[in-house]
Amino acid sequence: MSGDERDGEAGGSERVRDAGFDDLLDAIEAGEGHYLRCSNDHGSLPPRRVCPHCGDRDLTERPLPDSGTVSTYTVVAVPTPQFADDAPYVTAVVDFGTVRLTGVVDADPEAVETGMTVGVTVGTSETTGDRLVRFVPR
């Protein structure tokens, strides 16, 4: 095996780009978030070749709604090392209609509740600087 980026310090080397996923983060950053919809109107997130709900292979990109509602959330106090400096933080699953996204809510934990309306954006982990889905209360 040759050297290249694999010789970076543990945890310090740059992630290889994940097609589909990083494309989605780029799109959300540009205000053009999308999801995949099959011909039976099921929603899912890339990268995907098959609808996970019905097996349909006819997937088309659709615009992600501008805002969604918090389905469920938790305040994580004991994080993984990648979020050591972020804790405590709120991880939530947000419903955008036919598709849901999991991310960190940019709000005081006390202020978050199920049913609240949030917009979606891309932020970074305070610990690693890695990009992640963030939700902003509307």
Binding site: D18, F21, S44, L45, P52, S71, T72, Y73, T74, V75, V76, A77, V78, P79, T80, P81, Q82, F83, A84, D86, Y89, T91, V93, R100, L101, T102, G103, V104, P109, T114, S125, D130, L132, V133
Partner: protein
């Protein structure tokens, strides 16, 4: 179809043994099971082994042959990985192998080495049972995922953290005489509620500990047991496995676990029983809410009714269907890859009257073991019955 008998069980103590290797732990449990069965390692035809994160925890892959070697078995060996259901899946594959007539004598077990990773390392290791792109990168942890399910449960069915606390209190009480259990200390509802939060609404005492340990059982065909005069009165009469989407966000339900329901329905049909026949259960209570979801999926309770079961005393050792008499993952400990087989061993011992809690429950004839992986994207259920 050959009937599958449990000929022997073996377990290490579950607890904090950071200096012990996986191979050493499995050697202890595997040899104990072989000795209990009265089976020579040379008779074992295949080792079915469950482990989740050997690569991360001890830089060890390809653990099947290593574990066979550790117990003196010179035969094919295969590792199964399904997160925390790893050894439940190994059991299922072994059961199928005996049933088809392909095998007569199998060693099935699992090991996990975890405490050497520290809390942050183990939290990271366990988190990889979730979807890397869409969950782990969003700060999801294993307790965090179950906290999402707990809050969704409260929203859908009502109830609160006090109801969950009773599950933890019950399982700690059950573990008191279990010499293999990690925690043998009674706790109170107030202690559970006052404990530091891990991922709200779940606190430290709603969560299973980080545990090292191993478990093993010897499964044999009825014909082999009879031919060799083995004392093997318990049979695995039903086996089921269910699956679901990996990421919570892609599931139809947050507060139900259809993979467990499917596994239970398959196992009950296989055994020719119904949920009403179940007298005792060991279920996957990695968090207090997980036990609630498990007993509902097993059909012991309707959705929304399981939360109060411990509080009402119905799942305690004095109740109609005692759940987790060994202490569960909560108090017995949860060495991830060892848990499924440990549950099978516990039910076997309850049915043969050799369990530490046998004096409390008397003679039992039908028990189930329920093992779940991740946020129940994998689940296995096995029915055990006294047949001889």
């Amino acid at each position: 179809m050959s009937e599958v008998r449990v000929a022997g069980t073996g377990m290490t103590d579950f607890g904090r043994f950071p200096e012990r290797t996986g191979r050493d732990l499995f050697a202890e449990a595997g040899l104990a099971a072989l000795d209990d069965a009265g089976v020579d390692p040379g008779d074992v035809e295949h080792v079915f082994f469950g482990n989740f994160m050997g690569e991360l925890a001890e830089h060890q892959g390809h653990m099947g042959p290593l574990m066979a070697e550790a117990v003196g078995v010179n035969a094919p060996a295969t590792r199964y990985e399904a997160a925390c259901a790893s050894s439940g899946v190994a059991v299922r594959e072994a059961v199928r192998s005996v049933r088809t007539g392909e095998s007569d004598v199998l060693l099935v077990g699992g090991t996990e080495r975890m405490t050497n990773m520290g809390t942050a390392g183990a939290t990271e290791g366990l988190s990889i049972a979730a979807d890397d792109l869409y969950e782990i990168r969003a700060g999801m942890t294993f307790p965090g995922a179950y906290a999402l399910m707990a809050r969704a449960y409260f929203e859908e069915f009502g109830g609160d953290s006090t109801d969950l606390a009773h599950v933890a209190v019950k399982n700690h009480e059950h573990a008191l005489p279990n010499e293999h259990a990690q925690f043998r200390s009674a706790i109170t509802v107030d202690q559970v509620l006052d404990a530091p939060r891990i991922a709200d609404p779940l606190g430290l005492y709603d969560s299973c500990p980080i545990t090292d340990g191993a478990s093993a059982v010897v499964l044999v065909s009825e014909a082999f047991a009879e031919r060799n005069g083995l004392d093997a009165s318990v049979a695995v009469t039903g086996s089921g496995q269910g699956g679901d989407k990996l990421a919570l966000q892609d599931r139809e339900y947050f507060a139900r676990t259809p993979a467990s329901t499917a596994a239970a329905e398959e196992a009950y049909a296989d055994a020719g029983i119904t949920a009403d026949d179940v007298e005792v259960a060991e279920v996957h209570d990695c968090f207090t809410i997980a036990e609630v979801l498990a007993i509902e999926s097993l059909g012991l309770y309707d959705p929304g009714e399981g939360l109060g079961a411990a509080r009402r005393g119905e799942t305690t050792r004095h109740g109609d269907v005692p759940v987790n008499l060994s202490g569960g993952l909560k108090a017995k400990g949860h060495p991830v890859g060892a848990t499924g087989v440990a549950q099978l061993a516990s039910i076997t011992n309850l049915l043969t009257g050799t369990h530490a809690r046998s004096p409390d429950v008397g003679d039992l004839r039908v028990g189930v073991a329920h093992n779940a992986g991740g946020t129940v994207a994998s689940a296995t259920v096995h029915v055990l019955e006294v047949v001889a």
